[in-house]
């Protein structure tokens, strides 16, 4: 792991007496390698390394007896700060219902997360309604109904109609049934698909969600910044849910996304069952990214 590699790097340099800026560069190469192997974006990595190197040189590291450990601490602290604090707070509207819209690429885990989020909200006393706005994927509506049945949470659908209209009708349904939170499951789509992104903008304009969450697969590589940046600039996102964190991917995409959009990671999805949504802890993710 990175800690051990840095210990080794500095052990080799130890015999030369005082450390120099070049020696710090050597250590930075190891850090850069660790971040890129963890799928952190190329440019985000470059900016991160520059920041960390500056901090390292500004510290008393050149006099330190344990430079390796000190570098690891600087890297870890910077990572935790960049990834952001624990903020699993979702916007709650003063006027019911609160509307939450889930968006993202194909297969990211939106439909499953719609159920998980509803389950999570119900545990804190909310009365959620799931709304099926994916009118394209074969059996998507049925999938949401199965999820709703498994949780005993109501599901609203209008078959393969207009997603914006379905969202509005879903909100009406929530009001008439005394449900205080509406979760909109949308179809997976590419950020470069203009037609589908227009649809998303339309759903947003009609349903006026209080919270728009971008679902991102934790194993996403360098492309993560393109996706997050594009979704954020086209429809604006309030937060991110990282999915499939029960895998063994390092999850560097999370750092890239936070660095580029500034939007907080609100939840972690770590399993296929509907009770596997967890709040996000930046220090745990930092450990994982550093391997």
């Amino acid at each position: 792991n990175l800690s051990e590699k840095l210990q080794n790097t500095f052990k080799k340099l130890r015999g030369k007496g005082r450390l120099t800026e070049n020696d710090i560069n050597e250590a930075m190469r190891e850090v850069r390698l660790a971040l890129l192997e963890a799928d952190v974006n190329f440019r985000v990595t470059r900016d991160f390394i520059n920041k960390v190197k500056e901090k390292a040189l500004g510290s008393d590291i050149l006099e330190s007896l344990t430079p390796g450990q000190q570098v690891v601490k600087i890297v870890y602290d910077e990572l935790v700060e960049m990834i952001g604090g624990t903020q699993s707070k979702l916007t709650v509207s003063s006027k019911i219902p609160t509307v939450i819209m889930l968006v993202g690429l194909q297969g990211a885990g939106k439909t499953t997360a719609t159920g998980k989020l509803a389950n999570y909200l119900r545990k804190s006393g909310k009365k959620p309604l799931l709304v099926a706005c994916d009118v394209y994927r074969p059996a998507a509506i049925e999938q949401l109904h199965v999820v709703g049945r498994q949780l005993n949470i109501p599901v609203f659908d209008m078959g393969q109609g207009d997603p914006a209209e379905i969202a509005l009708k879903g909100i009406d349904q929530a009001l008439s049934q005394g449900r205080d939170t509406v979760l909109l499951d949308t179809a997976g789509r590419l950020h470069i698909d203009d037609e589908m992104m227009s649809e998303l903008i339309e759903i947003k304009e009609e349903a006026k969600p209080h919270e728009i969450l971008l679902l991102v697969d934790a194993m996403t590589g360098q492309d993560a910044v393109n996706v997050a940046d594009s979704f954020n600039s086209q429809i604006g996102i309030d937060g991110i849910i990282l999915t499939k964190m029960d895998g063994d991917t390092r999850g560097g995409a999370a750092l890239s996304i936070k660095a580029v959009t500034g939007k907080p990671i609100k939840f972690i999805s770590a399993g296929e069952k509907l009770d596997t949504l967890e709040p996000f802890y930046p220090d745990r993710l930092a450990q994982r990214i550093l391997g």
Partner: protein, 278 residues
């Protein structure tokens, strides 16, 4: 940036960014760039354009340099097992393949071996209707190996040419799920000679370095014979397949370019490599 006349460190820095941003990973990128530097030292490359062309050739070489067809032969019951982690596009790919083989005149039968995920069987059923092929299913929660077994028996009885097996998405670090995959694989091996003729690992083009771990783990339990790279219609380059090709001898055979039934292409290494520089 093309049309660059001189070879200098700026060129190599730019190339490194292109390769890493395409998800080739640091190791594979470094190896490729070192091969280029060596050629420059041996005075074999003199301009930036030549360096870029040489890079494309080296990558295409790693990918096998030619289009490789799926291991389907006439006159036998062919079995294609489709595997991979969650949400990568397996079910959609099975629908596309079923459609292709049906259109080519083969008798196709599909096994709905994802008995776990919500509405997985319904989803596949719609694809099979679109493709005009039959599907064998059990009830939700049934043993996937039993579905596979029944489909093979049905295929033998009906003189089927191609059986496509859709399996549940599973993360490769889940031991019990990989054991289940191994059990499915062994059932196929036992029931049909030389089968599965193709174990297709589906990889999402947006996936980063984790794809290498996926390839190794799935290979261990189901003998992966080919890769299918999906969602290449997005902005991700899918360069991780070059890293996998470098470490394992598994050809990429198929590409998914969209959500429609016809959005399936045979993998062409030179087209793929050229696209990395777009």
């Amino acid at each position: 940036f093309l049309g660059v006349p001189k070879i200098d460190e700026d060129l190599f820095d730019d190339l490194e960014e292109i390769l890493i941003t395409a998800d080739l990973g640091v190791q594979t990128s470094d190896d490729l760039l070192e091969t280029l530097r060596q050629k420059v030292r041996e005075d074999k490359l003199h301009t930036g354009d030549q360096v870029i062309e040489a890079l494309k050739e080296e990558m295409a070489k790693l990918l096998g340099d030619e289009i490789v067809p799926l291991n389907i032969e006439e006159g036998r019951l062919n079995i294609i097992l489709v595997v991979g982690v969650n949400g990568v596009g397996k079910t959609t790919l099975v629908g596309k393949l079923a459609n292709r083989y049906q259109a080519e005149g083969y008798k196709v039968l599909v096994a709905a071996a994802d008995t776990f995920r919500a509405a997985a069987i319904e989803q596949l059923e719609i694809w099979c209707e679109r493709a005009g092929v039959d599907m064998i299913k059990h009830q939700a929660g049934a043993d996937p190996a039993a579905v596979v077994f029944d489909t093979i028996q049905a295929g033998k009885a009906r003189g089927t040419d191609v059986i496509l097996i859709d399996t549940a998405g599973r993360l490769h670090n889940k031991g019990h799920l990989m054991d289940e995959m191994n059990k499915i694989y062994r059932v196929i091996k036992r029931e049909v000679e030389d089968a599965p003729h193709e174990t297709l690992l589906v990889l999402d083009a947006t996936t980063g370095q984790n794809a290498v771990l996926q390839a190794k783990a799935f290979d261990e339990v189901s003998n992966v014979t080919a890769l299918a790279l999906t969602k290449l219609d997005g902005t991700a380059k899918g360069g991780i397949v070059i890293a996998i090709s470098q470490q394992m001898d598994i050809p990429v055979k198929l590409v998914g370019l969209g959500e429609g039934i016809d959005d399936l292409r045979d993998f062409d290494p030179s087209v793929f490599v050229a696209a990395l520089f777009d």
